[in-house]
Amino acid sequence: MTVDRSWRSALIGVGVSLAIGALLAAALGYPVADMFAALVRSAFLRPGKLEATLANAVPLLLTGLSAAIAFAAGPVNLGQPGQVLIGALFAVVVGLYVHVPSIVQVPLVLAAGGVGGALWAGIAALMKRRFGMDEFIVTLMLNEIGRLFADWCISSPLQDPSAGSVTTKAIASTAFVSRWGSVSFGLVVAMLCALVFRRFVIGYEWKMMGRAPMFARLGGVDNDKNTTAVLLFTGALAGFAGAILLANGPHRFVKGLGGNYGWDGVMIAVVAVNALLGCVLYALLFSALQTGAIGMELAADVPSEYVQILQAIVVLVTVAVRGVLTSRVRDWQARRRARQPSH
């Protein structure tokens, strides 16, 4: 599979998805042209919107990388939703109760998010090592436990008594992360991930473990240790997403803070076939759709849920197009080559 062709199938996939989305909207009687114009305007063109789109892409990128790296290395980490919430919970505690200068506190808050996510994924790693339990099931079930635990924390010990809703107090202003700060953090983490896979011995081992686990084991790679390491690492990535959501977003742990970022990350990993650059680009696409949705709702009266449908179409169509295109191109090339004389 060449880079060239995977680009082509990605572009065709997104194009076909948007066309299906347009047909769907037209069938429902919405003004398609206005709708997409509003989407583009409020995702990119309006003042500050480009920054918003970029900043919103960061948590998507982090959860996307979390899922993609786990899948590429073998362990099936489907616990991003829970790890995001526990990460945000750790971050909010540091943001609320630690008072140091911003230059120290921002890294502390982000690191706390990473630790929280890693710990939550670490439970699954521990269960796997101790009892041989499948991480696929454990990470999935921990999502629900994490959500209920976070809800309890923000409605009881951490709740802001002065607020009318379920939320914590605002974190210290020294813990706030700006949009550009958030974008730079996302880029640094993505580059770090690339570095781990390209330059580090451990990244080589993770990749080989994902491609052929028995080969890695017989070659002397400690797959048990690496599985634990991958779960902790990818848990930390999802935890970072939680910390960024908090520190760049509402600055409070409000109920529903994690949104759908965890599952969106899994979808991004799937459409990007676990490729790093693909995660970046699909995170941007998903973010643009989500940011543009609000403007679209205002301008063309299209419910913002429409964007969720569009996102699902992108995932299904891109994956399908890749499959069909790959086999069709192969058949076509084969027939063409067969007609040419050899030598």
């Binding site: 002397g220 790679v221 067969a338």
Partner: protein, 510 residues
């Protein structure tokens, strides 16, 4: 008038691998036609075209004078074409006759299976074909050879007139092969046509009426078996002379390198125990382990390399106790070529560079820096180039995935990786399984080089000819124990076969 005619059949796997290149050949009715060639020569692809599993990109296939356009093996079956694959897929918990009728059960009232009729029909099929097979035993209790017969019976029961067999003897013990050949001849004499793929040219000479030789996807020649010879066929296959005789030169063995005493472990997928095994391999010595699949040979290797738990009174390499060591630490003392090339020997989707870096990345200086944290890809790339050039690996780029190479070339990459670490003991599990003739020759030469350089070599192989060609000593495993340990000069096929099948030493016939 042929029963099968391939006319200019071409199959291309993109980007430009010509698996079949303008192949035209006619198969006569009632003949046994062998297809030979190195791995990747296109014989399996050609047979799969006939069996409807692969659609050619150009050219035509005629069966019984009719131009075909098979879309699946089911279409081919309807035309009377069927194939016995290497992997045999049967239901262990059903009897032979139940397996044979599976999918085409005769039904009686209320669409219930008419068991009596089904059984009687299968009985008749088996009798008519003269297969020695009891229709009422459970398939789970059968040997691999008997399972193969069940597959043949399935095809016959579906009225298949053209039988294709993919390396039918690869899974058989030496004793079972003549029986299979007799049965195939009976089928031919009964008017059926048999096509088979083989790597064993001596078998081809014994069984086939005509032989087609493929090389690089092209048909090189179709010859009468009576008018050719093993060496002539081998020459056609690789276009150079292949040395089949042993190249072993006298060589004094040295000190004990591998010292195993009282080794015990569980045999995988079996209730049987491995051991206690006592085995010594000396420097400058090649020791072969023979045995019917599943008798513990593979588990012996696994216990030595440390991939399964084991107990031993002694497990030493060159005086070093292996028992407390991890797989990685054991690899400081031994090289290991595993049996399953595609899942254990390498990662097919990873590049050659990544494949040759394995184990070196932790143990060989230069493959990592910064206290073992940073991976030195450049060092791995130069090793990959060295292996490609030194082992004559046909690959355009060391960044190509291992899976894009032929089986023989893949195995040479694996062997190159293992031999580039200078270890006192080299352990090889089925080193030439599924490997073409040319690569086999190269691998054997490398093994004998190791011997000449005073290394100790332990080889497990299902190919007795291979063991007889390269080993100094052969041991036979039977139900987890070594039942025979003889110098190769005293070994004969009969003596080894008796030990493999019955666990005893048949010295008289030696």
């Amino acid at each position: 008038m042929g029963v099968v005619t391939f006319a200019g059949v071409t199959k291309v796997y993109p980007p430009d691998v010509r698996a079949l290149d303008d192949v035209s050949v006619t198969i006569e009715p009632g003949e046994i036609h062998a297809f030979v060639g190195e791995n990747g020569a296109g014989k399996s692809t050609l047979m799969k075209v006939l069996n409807g599993e692969i659609r050619p990109d150009s050219g035509a296939l005629e069966v019984f004078g009719q131009r075909t356009s098979y879309r699946s093996a089911r279409d081919a079956m309807a035309d009377g074409v069927g194939m016995v694959h290497q992997e045999i897929l049967l239901v262990d918990r059903l009897t032979v006759w139940e397996n044979v009728v599976l999918g085409i059960e005769p039904v009686g009232r209320f669409r219930l299976i008419d068991r009596q009729r089904a059984r009687a029909e299968v009985h008749r099929t088996i009798d008519e074909a003269g297969l020695s097979l009891d229709p009422d035993v459970l398939v789970g209790a059968l040997t691999v050879g008997a399972r193969q017969k069940v597959e043949i019976a399935k095809l016959l029961h579906r009225n298949v007139k053209i039988l294709i067999l993919d390396e039918p003897t690869a899974v058989l013990t030496p004793h079972e092969i003549p029986e299979l050949f007799d049965e195939l001849r009976r089928l031919r004499n009964g008017g059926r046509t048999v096509c088979f793929i083989s790597h064993h040219l001596d078998e081809v000479m014994v069984l086939a009426d005509r032989v087609s030789v493929l090389r690089d996807g092209r048909l090189i020649a179709t010859v009468d078996a009576a008018a050719t010879s093993v060496s002539a066929l081998a020459y056609l296959m690789v276009e150079r002379d292949v040395v089949f005789t042993s190249q072993r030169t006298p060589h004094e063995r040295g000190k004990v390198v591998l010292d195993v005493r009282g080794l015990r472990a569980r045999i995988y997928g079996s209730s049987q125990e491995l051991g206690p095994v006592d085995l010594a391999v000396h420097s400058g010595e090649v020791v072969g382990v023979a045995g019917v699949e599943g008798n513990g040979q593979h588990d012996l290797i696994a216990a030595i390399v440390g991939s399964i738990p084991s107990r031993a009174d002694a497990l030493f390499i060159a005086g070093r106790d292996l028992t407390p060591l991890s797989i990685l630490d054991r690899r400081r003392h031994l090289s290991h070529v595993p049996a399953e090339r595609k899942t254990e020997g390498g990662a097919l989707t990873a590049s050659l560079v990544e494949n040759v870096a394995m184990t070196h990345h932790r143990l060989t200086p230069g493959f990592s820096k910064a206290r073992g944290w940073l991976f030195e890809r450049g060092r791995a790339a130069s090793l990959a180039v060295a292996i490609r050039d030194g082992f004559n690996v046909a690959s355009s780029s060391v960044d190509a995935p291992l899976g894009s190479l032929s089986g023989g070339n893949q195995q040479k990459v694996v062997l190159g990786r293992e031999l580039s670490a200078q270890r006192p003991l080299v352990v090889l599990d089925q080193p030439t399984r599924g490997v073409d003739v040319g690569s086999i020759e190269e691998i054997h030469r490398r093994i004998l080089d190791l011997r000449a350089n005073d290394r100790a070599v332990l080889v497990v192989s299902a190919d007795l000819d291979e063991l007889l060609r390269i080993c100094d000593r052969i041991v036979v495993m039977y139900r987890g124990r070594l039942v025979l340990d003889i110098a190769v000069e005293d070994a004969t096929l009969t003596r080894l076969g008796t030990a493999m099948l019955e666990g005893r030493d048949d010295r008289v016939s030696a």
